[in-house]
């Protein structure tokens, strides 16, 4: 009995707490993780959110619907376009407005370009988190070209605010199609370089295989969506299951891997980049002529009721839930942010793994902190 007590005491002493963040190079923002370590092994982990809480949902309740769009950019800044689209679709569906085909095509192309840019940034950060700093510059070099296209057509590079209820803010520039096609031919040549640098690297594969396992059941119960969920075999692609914009007009595969580890999540994103390229290629030559927006009333008032609209953002299912009392601003708004749900599964994924793996797992689920805190 005494021995057991001594052993228990020692075990208690052996475990120690460590604060990762809010200032830490690989939490990519101000996420704070309180980690219980035993040597180098993570025993359990508690995320503490709120360091970048700006009260966006509350701010939205005060603002009109066209104003809300500019706030959704600031949630997940890497999928700003998809977030905008969710609010626009919600307003359009509530008012039962049919947007022109041209708008649908432009929105879809822009969404997929955003997804490409986001996955490029994820790829270079994933390499950097695992110590291969060179990937960071390769990814940013190619992402720059997408941002240039955004800058020319939307006016912004990161925070786009390109969508508005009823269409898009401005028409696309005449050379938009040419520039996008140029980029795609360029990027298709560069993608094998990505694979050479990380995917085929023995050290990288050994570090990610089996790390951060989460089963399909757990992924569903935690609500892990997007590429992270599809890495566990959870078929959750909103583009496929409830198509919006022009996604019902294109052929694309939903990438599914059943391994559920970091390597599977990595592969899902790499394959999704190829799918995004093929989606853009199918649409880019067929953008129909027409208006770029429907004429809306100067003050948009949603009829009384509850509305929900979801889209597939770069990180998972992004949903907007609105309760309207018939005013020009929502009575209550709630964003279902994919990162918040994905973060909740981090504890499950990292238990009993090394602290070095924790960093790799965190970048494999690709967290954006402002989306968690809102």
């Amino acid at each position: 009995m005494v021995e057991e007590e001594v052993k228990k005491k020692f075990e208690a002493v052996e475990e120690y707490f460590i604060n990762m963040g809010p200032q830490h190079p690989s939490t990519h923002g101000v996420l704070r993780l309180l980690i219980n370590l035993k040597g180098e092994i993570v025993k359990d982990l508690k995320p503490y959110c709120g360091y970048i809480h700006r009260g966006i949902e509350k701010m939205c309740e005060r603002n009109t619907y066209p104003q809300i769009i500019h706030l959704t950019d600031r949630l997940d800044y890497l999928s700003a376009h998809q977030n905008n689209e969710a609010v626009c679709l919600l307003v359009e569906n509530a008012l039962e407005i049919e947007v022109p085909e041209r708008v649908k095509y432009i929105r879809t192309i822009m969404s997929e370009l955003s997804r490409l840019a986001s996955h490029q940034l994820w790829w270079c950060v994933m390499g950097m988190d695992m110590g291969a700093l060179t990937t960071f510059f390769y990814g940013l070099r190619d992402r720059e070209r997408i941002l240039d296209i955004f800058e020319e057509n939307c006016g912004g590079r990161l925070i786009l605010s390109y969508n508005c209820p009823g269409g898009v803010m401005y028409d696309i520039k005449p050379d938009f199609q040419k520039k996008v096609k140029d980029f795609l031919t360029y990027f298709k040549k560069k993608l094998p370089e990505y694979n050479e640098l990380l995917t085929g690297n023995v050290i990288f594969v050994e570090r990610t295989r089996g790390a951060g396992y989460i089963s399909k059941e757990d992924a569903i119960s935690f609500g892990v969506t997007g590429p992270s969920g599809r890495g566990s075999g959870f078929s959750c692609d909103v583009r496929k299951h409830c198509p919006y914009s022009a996604y019902d007009k294109v052929q694309f595969k939903e990438i599914l891997y059943s391994e559920g580890d970091s390597l599977a999540r990595y592969k899902v994103r790499m394959d999704e980049m190829l799918e995004s390229i093929s989606i853009i290629e199918q649409l880019i030559d067929n953008i129909p002529e027409g208006d770029f927006a429907v004429k809306m009333k100067p003050i948009i008032k949603l009829p009384e009721g509850e509305y929900y609209q979801k889209v597939e953002s770069s990180r998972g299912e992004f949903g907007v839930y609105v309760i309207s009392k018939g005013e020009k601003n929502p009575y209550r708004i709630k964003f279902r942010s994919p990162n918040f749900a994905n973060l909740s599964a981090l504890d499950k994924m990292t238990r009993n793994s090394k602290i070095a793996d924790l960093v790799a797992i965190m970048s494999s689920i690709d967290l954006v902190i402002p989306d968690i805190d809102r």
């Binding site: 190079p25 510059f137 570090r207 070095a356 960093v359």
Partner: protein
């Protein structure tokens, strides 16, 4: 035989000192101080150059230009950085172990400084040349881990402590591989004295003379010495994405610069040892029997040969630092104990058989 011999210069200085001051303590002291100052200056210069080289090499790997603003092609950038580091405030944390915290950077830098004395840069350009040179260098260069451990422990920071624990496990393990791969060549050379090892390569470098086992030993040496100098992909002690900066998180100013400089100098030292032991050090490229060819090669100064070889290996080490992701600690130890060490032991056996039966060139 060799056109550029520094023995003449050193013996002239010695003769001049003896004739004016006579043999005695004073002469020895002056000679030792001259040697010390020269090595110290060399140490600082090579350190500054290596920092510049690393920044440029990594920049070119990453589609950047690197430092370009200070001086032509940014050549004065490291000097400017050095002045900045000298002028920065030295922060000592209240709860740190004051003595150990302040001593640690000096241990690290002294260890690398001691090792550089034993490296022959050219014929006669050699601060220390004694019959256990190889043993001395491996012994002295492993002292650095003490400094890293002390730095991690005394900082009173959990991140630093994890970094120090990792580097303890890592350096102690990889020391074995470094030593054993050097022993493989010592078996072939039949001596541990660096000058004799180089003379033994007059008719061909050991990596050619010792063919397969020597090449295996070289590969193992490069892997293990990268790990021993705490550089990527084995930079677990620093691991900036996991441990912010590992063992030197809490250091600032010139004390941080000491760790930084020591890391670069250790890289230079292991590269120069690899160049000396496997590629003949300052010995020009010779082929046994081709006397006229060998004579032409002798016209290239040995200092150029030495630095050419050393910086090629330094470049190789930078190359894989900027390409590979970092290993995990358990993979690192598995690599050493399950792969490198057994291969190394078998390799020594093969080399001994080769030497005994005369199966080498």
């Amino acid at each position: 035989m060799f056109l550029y011999d520094f023995t003449e210069l050193t013996s002239k200085i010695h003769a001049g000192l003896v004739s004016s001051l006579g043999e005695g303590l004073l002469t020895t002291t002056i000679e030792l101080s001259i040697a010390g100052v020269v090595v110290l200056l060399f140490y600082a210069l090579v350190g500054l150059f290596l920092v510049y080289l690393e920044r440029k090499v990594c920049a070119f790997f990453q589609c950047r230009l690197g430092p370009m603003r200070v001086g032509p092609w940014g050549l004065l950038q490291t000097i400017a950085d050095f002045i900045k580091l000298m002028m920065k405030e030295l922060i000592t944390i209240k709860s740190a172990d004051q003595l150990l915290f302040n001593v640690a950077p000096f241990i690290v830098i002294i260890a690398s400084f001691l090792a550089i004395g034993a490296i022959p840069f050219a014929k006669g350009l050699h601060a220390l040349d004694f019959d256990i040179g190889v043993l001395y260098v491996t012994a002295v260069s492993s002292l650095g881990v003490l400094g890293i451990l002390l730095a991690g422990w005394s900082s009173n920071n959990k991140y630093s402590l994890i970094g120090a624990m990792r580097s303890g496990a890592q350096i102690v393990s990889y020391e074995l591989s470094v030593g054993l791969s050097l022993i493989t060549i010592v078996v072939l050379a039949g001596t541990m004295q660096f000058s004799q090892i180089i003379i033994g390569q007059t008719d061909g470098w050991f990596i050619i003379k010792g063919h397969i086992p020597a090449v295996i030993a070289f590969i193992i040496f490069i892997i293990a010495s990268t790990a021993e100098t705490n550089r990527g992909p084995f930079d677990l002690a620093e691991a900036e994405s996991e441990l912010t900066a590992g063992f030197h998180t809490e250091y600032s100013g010139i004390k941080f610069a000491f760790f930084f400089l020591a890391e670069f100098m250790n890289m230079f030292i292991v590269s120069s040892i690899a160049a000396t032991v496997f590629f003949g050090g300052w010995m020009p490229f010779h082929i046994g029997g081709f006397d006229s060819f060998n004579h032409i090669m002798d016209f290239i100064p040995p200092v150029l040969w030495f630095f050419g070889k050393t910086f090629s290996i330094v470049f190789l080490m930078m190359w894989f630092k900027w390409t590979f992701p970092r290993l995990r600690i358990d993979q690192l130890l598995t690599l050493e104990w399950k792969y490198l060490l057994p291969i190394n032991l078998v390799n020594i056996l093969v080399m001994s058989l080769c030497v005994l039966n005369g199966w080498h060139f």
